[in-house]
């Protein structure tokens, strides 16, 4: 499986599996990355293998399931001790919180936040893809290096990935949680969604009655596998959306189509001198 930095993300194994189950009518199409803007989207074609017998169960016309990666948390080490006080005084866009002993550095491009400890360990959050996370990590390490530390980029690993997915149908979560007692935990008083944990691939899914699913997993591949794993289980408890739910769903989709951040445009505006200024210590 190839992962191209900033590009499209295809999973041949997944498409292959679903190819067998199709009726052959619908064409397979992966939504082009450039159409959707900067936000990384893993598009997979989902086929409804069951012929829709119940007239009230209407599925949204487009048979494509978008998995949007919202957050990638990574952790690495610069292999040397850092003086947080010195960094706070001389760095750009940094904030020191003494009670936690953590320095926060925010990057504009890619828009990420890094928590830096004096041991040299750094946690970087806010990226939307694996290579963007790596790029952000390297930029942070470069910032620290420019302030005079002997920095090495060590032990980079992705710790957590948060992905969301909106199914084309609503879900009856009470019978779903009753059927899957062992893996699903539903406490309506505590949280309106079902928390479903799977061991292999390792992931935690939060399934809501509106049909949205939130997945947290150690890697992007796990997120996709988790959605694949859960789709047939959830499909049997699907139900049609009522009119208010449909209106709400459409409003959410419209909001996601035009994301606020679009740093492709920002990159064109920034000239090289501005980048130098941004990195220079004050």
């Amino acid at each position: 499986m190839e992962v191209v930095c900033g590009g499209r993300f295809l999973s041949p194994s997944f498409s292959g599996a679903w190819r067998e189950s199709t009726s052959g009518d619908n064409t397979r199409s992966i939504i082009d990355q450039s159409q959707m803007g900067e936000q990384e989207q893993v598009s997979a074609v989902m086929e409804d293998e069951k012929v829709i017998k119940e007239e009230d169960l209407e599925v949204d016309p487009e048979p494509v399931l978008d998995i949007i990666i919202n957050n990638v948390v990574s952790s690495f080490s610069v292999a040397c001790h850092l003086d947080l006080h010195h960094l706070a005084l001389h760095g750009n866009n940094v904030e020191l919180r003494k009670e936690n002993g953590v320095l926060t550095m925010k990057l504009r491009k890619p828009p990420t936040t890094a928590s830096i400890w004096s041991s040299g360990k750094i946690t970087c959050t806010g990226s939307t893809s694996e290579c963007q996370a790596r790029l952000a990590g390297r930029r942070i390490a470069r910032c620290v290096q420019k302030m005079g530390y002997n920095v090495k980029f060590r032990n980079f690993r992705i710790v957590n990935v948060l992905g969301t997915c909106s199914l084309p149908f609503a879900i009856k979560i009470t019978p779903f949680s009753q059927k899957h007692r062992d893996a699903a935990s539903y406490e309506p008083e505590l949280h309106p969604g079902v928390t479903y944990r799977i061991e292999h691939p390792k992931a935690t899914l939060k399934i809501f009655s509106t049909g949205s699913i939130t997945v947290t997993a150690p890697s992007i591949a796990n997120v996709q596998n988790a959605i694949e794993h859960i789709y047939p289980l959830v499909r049997e408890f699907g139900k049609a959306r009522s009119e208010e739910e449909m209106a709400e769903y459409r409003r959410n989709q419209a909001r996601k189509q035009f994301p606020i951040l679009n740093f492709e445009d920002v990159e064109e505006d920034l000239s090289s001198s501005e980048i130098e200024e941004y990195w220079e210590p004050m």
Partner: protein, 331 residues
Amino acid sequence: MPYQKPIIYSTFDPNSCVCHFRSRFVEVCCPQHPEAHLIEDYRAGDQICSECGLVVGDRVIDVGSEWRTFSNEKANNDPSRVGGPENPLLNGSDLSTIIGPGAGGASFDGFGNSKYQNRRSMSSSDRALINAFREISNMADKINLPKTIVDRANLLFKQVHDGKNLKGRSNDAIASASLYIACRQEGVPRTFKEICAVSKISKKEIGRCFKLILKALETQVDLITTGDFMSRFCSNLGLPTFAQKAATHIARKAVDLDIVPGRSPISVAAAAIYMASQASDDKRTQKDIGDIAGVADVTIRQSYKLMYPHAKELFPDDFKFSTPIELLPPL
């Protein structure tokens, strides 16, 4: 002398490195029927052979309760010869002796303090357990829970305490969570907010401990339904029986028809009570119901808005309307 079966055991003397064999007579049995089961008569302190009726043991210690009763409870000396019943399931057997409160002049020193004070170091290993049991008992007392639930909560606490997975958590939080689970398991669930009202732990922490305990003990609990809370909420509000039955029916129908997806059963129950009370003589405001149920009145309003269009199907057939359905408030 009663006939006793010989049991031979050996002792090893480390000084002389010699092994001695001694026989010690421990078990009593009937001489004619060595294998017969012995019936124990506690009142007389006897052990009787079940085959021939021979009394083979006597002066057996009576483990029953004190049979002398005393009406004069205010007397300085308590003539009862035994203490309270021990709690063998939930404590290590605590057979230590404690020095009682002094009586007479000799037990007080010059300043008036009692000379022998040993209220400390009673049972250090079970101190946390005893504290927790007392907390659970207090909490249950405030919401009038029966002894069965308290016992179950104590048992859960003991299991969690022995397992030691939740060692870092506050004992009060674990006690509150085990009380919550006990109520659930007995089929009479209490809402988290009701447990919060009698405990000093926040709902968030009780919820966290609840999930951890279920994972640690590898048990599951049933999902809460609207009907579990109907009788309690309605009687707290003072609604008549037919209104309560109607509210139960409305809530159940609403969940069956799936009119209120994703809403907590408590909110649906509260909205059903509102609808039933508004249709009957005894009307209640959303605020009153919200106070009793622990839900915000906007939450009741939201669930009610979802249920209002389907009001005709929700009411039971034999319900007599003081306010007809058309005049129900649409808020």
